[in-house]
Symmetry: C2
Subunit: 248 residues, 2 copies
C-alpha cells in the first residue's frame, strides 16, 4: 500500500527537484551530487544544492566553502552562492568537527527548514544530497515536496548493490520515479600499464540498472585526483546532463 | 555538558560490550566488525555480534547466514549461532531487499529489543556494528548499556576522517571510551609489480590516531578477495585481538 504523499512545502520558483540517493554510505554520493549540480550549472541552468545529510554534511568540504548563511529578519536563510551555484548545508551552521547528536524528529525539522525557509529564488534544478539509509530524512523529503525523481548511486560491490536496491524499493513505495543509476569506483586505471583493475568487482551497477530497467547514466573510475579535489570528477558527470534530458 | 548515561538494560552475563563505529558509511565497518568478532572467537572467547544498522543490516550477507531466529513463548529472540558466533540482525527478520522505512523512535525500540530481549547467554565479548551517522541508534545504545568502549573505523580519505572525528567527539560527549582506530583500504598492492598504490590518500587514520592520542590497531589494504568473501579479511584482524588486550 503506497504511503500517502503530501505536498506540505510548495516551491513554486523551483522547476525540478532531484534527489541524489544511495542507501549505502561511502559510495561517492556527495561527490557526485556536487559534480552533477556543477555540470548542470556549467550547461547554463540555474541550480541549487541542498545537503540533507545532517549527520555527515560534506558539501562545504567538497566545495571548499564554509561561509555562514545570513538569516533575514523574518527567519529565512540566504543560501551561499558558490560560482553561481546556490547551496545550503548543516555543515555551514556548525563548528568544524562538531557532531550532530540528534534523534529523528529533529532531522525532520531541519529538512523542512532547508526546503521551506531557504530563499532559493528561481531555479531550474534543485539537487538534494540524501544521507545513507532509508529513514527520517528520506520520508520527510518525499512527503513534503513533489520530487521530479531520484538518481541512485552505487559502487560495483554486492553489499552496496543490495543496499541501493532497498533504496530503489523505498522510492517505489513512496511513488518517486528513479531516473537512473550511476556506478562509481567502477575500476582503477593503473597509470603505468593503463590496465583496468576491477578492485571492487565488475558491473554491479550495470546489472542493477538492467534488473530495474533503468538507464545506467555513468560508470566512473576510481580516480585519486577526485579524492584530492572533488571537482576533478566534473568531466565524468558532464555527459549525464544530456542523458538525463532524454529521461525527462 | 555530558549527556546523562542510564543503564536501562542490564546484561549481567556479558562481560564486555564494544561498539564498532565510524560516522562515515562505506568504510568497511560491517566487514571489520564481523572479522573482529570471528578473530576473538577463534582466540577462544565466547562472542556475540549485534547488527545495529537497521536500515542497512549487512551481517547476514557477510556471514552468508540468513536463518530466521526463533521467538520463545515469552517473546525472547534466540540469536543465530554461526560457527560458534552468536549474532542477531534486522536482516534476519526481513525479506531480502525489503527496505526498512522507519523514523527514529522505531530504531530505538529495535536496539532495545536486540539488547534486552535476545538470549545472549554467557559472553566474553558482545560487538555492536553501528550504522553511519551520530543519531538515534548511537544515542540509544550509549544510554541503555554500559559500553566498555568503541573502535573507530576510517579510510585514509579526508572526508571519512572528518566524519570519524565527529564520531569520536560524540563518544567523548556520551562518556564512552574510544579504544583505538582501524584504518581500512589503506593502499592497494598491484599484483604484478607488488607496488603499494595509495588510491585514497595516505595515513588519514594514522594521523587521526595521533591527533586523539589513540592506538592505531591496524592498517588494512584494499584486497579484492575481501570483496568476494568478507572472511578473507580475517587474517588482517587477528593481530587486533592482542593489541586490544593491551588497551583493557
Ligand atoms: N570515483 C572516485 N574515485 C576516487 N575517490 C572517490 C571517487 N568518488 C568518491 N571518492 C572519494 O570517496 C570518499 C567518499 O565519497 P562521498 O562523496 O563522501 O560518499 P558518500 O556521500 O556516498 O558517503 C570521498 O573521500 C571521495 O573523495
Ligand atoms: N579492505 C577491503 N578491501 C576491499 N574491499 C573491502 C575492504 N573492506 C571492505 N570492503 C568492501 O567495501 C564494501 C563496504 O564495506 P562495509 O563493511 O559494508 O562498510 P560499512 O559497514 O562501513 O558501510 C563492501 O563491499 C566490502 O566488501
Amino acid at each position: 500500500k503506497p504511503i500517502p504523499i503530501r505536498t506540505e512545502v510548495s516551491l513554486p520558483t523551483v522547476k525540478k527537484i532531484i534527489a541524489i540517493s544511495s542507501g549505502k554510505g561511502g559510495v561517492g554520493k556527495s561527490t557526485i551530487a556536487t559534480n552533477i549540480a556543477k555540470a548542470f550549472q556549467k550547461s547554463g541552468y540555474s541550480v541549487g544544492l541542498l545537503d540533507a545529510d545532517i549527520y555527515g554534511p560534506n558539501i562545504p568540504t567538497l566545495l571548499e566553502n564554509y561561509a555562514r548563511p545570513t538569516i533575514t529578519h523574518d527567519d529565512k536563510l540566504v543560501p551561499i552562492t558558490h560560482d553561481g551555484l546556490k547551496f545550503i548545508s548543516m555543515g555551514l551552521l556548525l563548528e568544524p568537527g562538531q557532531p550532530v547528536i540528534w534523534r529523528g524528529p529533529m532531522l525532520h525539522g531541519v529538512v523542512k527548514q532547508f526546503l521551506a525557509d531557504v530563499i532559493w529564488g528561481d531555479l531550474d534544478y534543485l539537487f538534494v544530497d540524501l544521507p545513507p539509509g532509508t529513514g527520517d530524512v528520506h520520508l520527510s523529503l518525499c512527503q513534503m515536496v513533489d520530487l521530479t525523481g531520484a538518481i541512485a548511486i552505487t559502487t560495483p560491490q554486492q553489499l552496496s548493490v543490495a543496499d541501493v536496491r532497498k533504496g530503489i524499493g523505498m522510492f517505489r513505495q513512496l511513488q518517486v520515479e528513479v531516473l537512473g543509476i550511476i556506478e562509481n569506483m567502477s575500476y582503477y586505471v593503473h597509470p603505468g600499464t593503463n590496465e583496468k583493475i576491477y578492485v571492487f568487482g565488475k558491473n554491479g551497477g550495470k546489472n542493477l540498472a538492467e534488473e530495474w530497467n533503468l538507464p545506467l547514466l555513468a560508470q566512473i573510475p576510481i580516480d585519486p585526483a577526485i579524492c584530492e579535489k572533488s571537482e576533478n570528477g566534473l568531466t565524468y558527470l558532464m555527459p549525464v546532463v544530456e542523458k538525463l534530458h532524454q529521461v525527462f
